[in-house]
């Protein structure tokens, strides 16, 4: 039996939303984002839950200032969980 804390569940949900959105664009996009997160910040996709600014910066590097559609897609995936405090924080930072 796996007992997850609220924080872990939020982290898993955020990770799933990011991975699903990037995979919808193409696997090389997910790979490139993961690679840049690791190269620039020594972090992995699940760490974006605590550091949404890293993901934001990587998406900006890849797509310039027009990455809003990707953010919208991530937001849409997390819509029903948006009231969770940590997810709310993630969405707030990434949408700024």
């Amino acid at each position: 039996m796996f007992d997850a804390t609220n924080g872990e569940i939020s982290k898993a949900l955020v990770t799933l939303a990011i991975e699903k959105t990037l995979l919808n664009m193409g696997k090389p996009v997910l790979d490139e984002v993961a690679h840049r997160l690791f190269t620039n910040y020594k972090c992995f996709i699940p760490d974006c839950h605590e550091h949404p600014e890293y993901l934001k910066s990587v998406l900006k590097e890849l797509y310039g200032n027009c990455y809003s559609n990707i953010v919208e897609s991530i937001k849409k995936s997390l819509d029903e969980f948006a009231t969770k405090k940590s997810i709310e924080h993630f969405l707030m930072v990434i949408s700024e």
């Binding site: 919808n24 190269t39 996709i45 027009c66």
Partner: protein, 269 residues
């Protein structure tokens, strides 16, 4: 990951390719009609050929999955169609010495346009949030405004041409007008500083191709077109810009060592 050095190298090679092609065309124009025709026709083998190879590489990398994958498959459709068209043109001109218009080449040229339009829609999709309705309206109006003179010229062709030939001649400006809309949007995004130069290369290439098509139409109408005309340089430059646009994506989405993906959702289970 594409470093600043790689980006500046791509730009350097792009400039060299453009200057190199221009120089070859210039020399060919000084060397007499036969050499000019031969060299210009032969340039249409490696230049569009390189685009086919690069577009296949990026399509294989994205392996049809995802929005980018679908976009690049459509782009393979463009590059292959236009490559076949160029080769048919070359054979008609160099081997059979017949007027390449109208010919099977036109079928392949025109077949590339729906692929190009659908590709550009997918290409702009990640940045669609930055495209306002106002921009879309202005761009569409600009494309229609530019389309009208071309249509007028194409329809005013020699009355001795058949209805089929007239329809064919009219198809090009219409197709150009349609693909011009997403291309202009891409370039506007670049000038607004929303996307980088290498990203917008494909959109610039589409615009250059439309300019070349219009130039070809005008010079064909007034009878001043010949193989090796400066208009051909624009077509070749458009292929080069397309190729470098695709190449920059190959550089961005390089294959990475699998260890980086090692922590993902699976590690949270």
């Amino acid at each position: 990951m594409q470093t600043n050095l790689e980006k500046s190298q791509i730009k350097k090679y792009l400039l060299l390719s453009i200057l190199g092609t221009g120089f070859i065309m210039l020399l060919a124009n000084f060397a007499g009609q036969e050499v000019r025709t031969l060299i210009t026709n032969l340039l249409y083998v490696p230049v569009p050929g390189a685009l086919v190879v690069l577009s296949i590489i990026i399509a294989v990398r994205f392996s049809v999955k995802g929005e980018h994958g679908r976009a690049w498959i459509l782009f393979v459709g463009v590059s292959v169609s236009w490559f076949i068209a160029e080769q048919i043109w070359l054979v008609n001109d160099l081997v059979y010495h017949i007027d390449p218009f109208p010919s099977l080449a036109d079928f392949f040229y025109l077949a590339g346009y729906p692929f190009l339009f659908l590709f550009s829609i997918y290409y702009l999709k990640p940045v669609k949030g930055a495209i306002s309705k106002k921009t879309l309206t202005y761009v569409s109006l600009t494309a229609i405004t530019l389309l009208v003179p071309s249509l007028y010229m194409a329809s005013g062709q020699d009355s001795q041409i058949s209805d089929f030939e007239l329809a064919l001649a009219l198809s090009y400006p219409i197709a150009d007008g349609i693909v011009l809309i997403p291309a202009l949007i891409g370039v506007i995004l670049f000038f607004r500083g929303e996307v980088n130069f290498l990203w917008s290369l494909i959109c610039i290439a589409i615009i250059l191709n439309v300019v070349a098509d219009t130039g070809f139409l005008i010079t064909s109408m007034n009878g001043s077109y010949y193989m090796g005309h400066p208009i051909d340089m624009l077509f070749l430059w458009a292929y080069i810009l397309f190729s470098f646009g695709v190449y920059s994506h190959i550089q961005i989405f390089k294959k990475h060592h699998p260890h980086i993906k090692s922590q993902s959702i699976d590690d949270l289970r």
